[in-house]
Symmetry: C2
Subunit: 268 residues, 2 copies
Amino acid sequence: MKKQPIGIFDSGVGGLTVFKEIRRAFPHEDIVYFGDTARVPYGPKSKSTVLEYSLQNARFLMHCGAKIIVIACNTSSSVALEYLRERLTIPVLGVIRPGSEDAVATTRNQRIGVIGTEGTIRSKAYPQAIEALLLQAKVYSQPCPLFVSLVEEGWDEHPVTRVVATEYLQPLLEQDIDTLVLGCTHYPILKKVLQKVVGSGVTLVDSALAVARQLHNELPMPQSDGVGKDIFYVSDNEDKFAAIASRILEQDITSLHRVILCESWFLA
Amino acid sequence: MKKQPIGIFDSGVGGLTVFKEIRRAFPHEDIVYFGDTARVPYGPKSKSTVLEYSLQNARFLMHCGAKIIVIACNTSSSVALEYLRERLTIPVLGVIRPGSEDAVATTRNQRIGVIGTEGTIRSKAYPQAIEALLLQAKVYSQPCPLFVSLVEEGWDEHPVTRVVATEYLQPLLEQDIDTLVLGCTHYPILKKVLQKVVGSGVTLVDSALAVARQLHNELPMPQSDGVGKDIFYVSDNEDKFAAIASRILEQDITSLHRVILCESWFLA
């Protein structure tokens, strides 16, 4: 029987931090990663558009033979997880629940901050997941829309980023949080400046590790031998993707393809 | 015979500054505006993707009966103007040539700065157009990718925007420019802070007025009576669009519809 891959999708390159942890945890599995670099960012888009794009991405991964789908994108996980589960015949994992479990395991004062895109914060997915795990938790949320642009501009060490981060995080610090969930796959790249702004009393939580852990419980047909293959697909800018991916993954990207959407407009 | 509208498209809301000037100059014409708010921004996307999206947008406007198409988006004008002209049966206007004419008419020392998205600057469309009009012109270009995010975040008066603008514009000021082309429809919204950063010795050029002027020479079947209708289409976030549009246009948006893309993936 043909080996079926784990499918991962993200709005762009951010999900590679999730890919990296899954690759490390599952050396025998084939993994197909799709980055929707033509339509990034998902954060400011409406719920209905994120649902539609997420379903298209998931169907593309199923077309590649995926046996399970991991939504690495927080915005998409926040709004589209149930929507995909209702429509697909294979299991689907998001990053919200694993990230929330880590936050609950980390906090000591039950005061948790969550930062993310407009779409993620508007969905209230993190507060709902965290409060379901820990009734007495107080969750304080803050959208940080400029962070993605600053990361993509390569300004992760720029003084402007510190000013912006201070402005965004101040309201959370005033709530005396001791844990901060990085609710967007781009944000771990800003870890250094974020840690400086929040100080050593606040622990940063990033979901990538937690997702790989949850995948252990849910993976169908786990492979126990052979070397897993990596296959990457993007919807635009494959050269830029290859450059960033080889830096994040510390490996050459050998199997990278571009896919194109065949599109026609109709009235909503 | 049925009245045919002027069609305008942009990657999002920025092209409304162009719409406004065309509406003012052509009170009897119907105008159909399409803002691709689901796939904004175009600036960081590859040339082939911008070509494809521009053609889809133009075809949608032709489907609405447009007699001429105005590309309000600088990125799309930079890379897709000839591509659309070769493929469409109606005239197509971009913003690069009119903006370049204004820049050449404005400069006294023949030293012109151009700011725009990565896509616009990489295309070299402005330097080519300006140098074709004024052989001895020296054109200095600078991509300013964070400006669009800052505008969309509503930070047009925020101190961070001034810091970012100073960093981007310093290399142009060192070249002793006396004219600065705002080569992106979002940038006029930052006019106040940009003028402060460049000082009163530098004149800012925005293409919207120049486009309306050029349209006078190219418009097929001009209408000389009746009140023109405004029809808006967007691909996402119609409420957000309506709010921004009514502010920019200082009028209520009554005819606004959402269009959806019917899509399927294939390998490039």
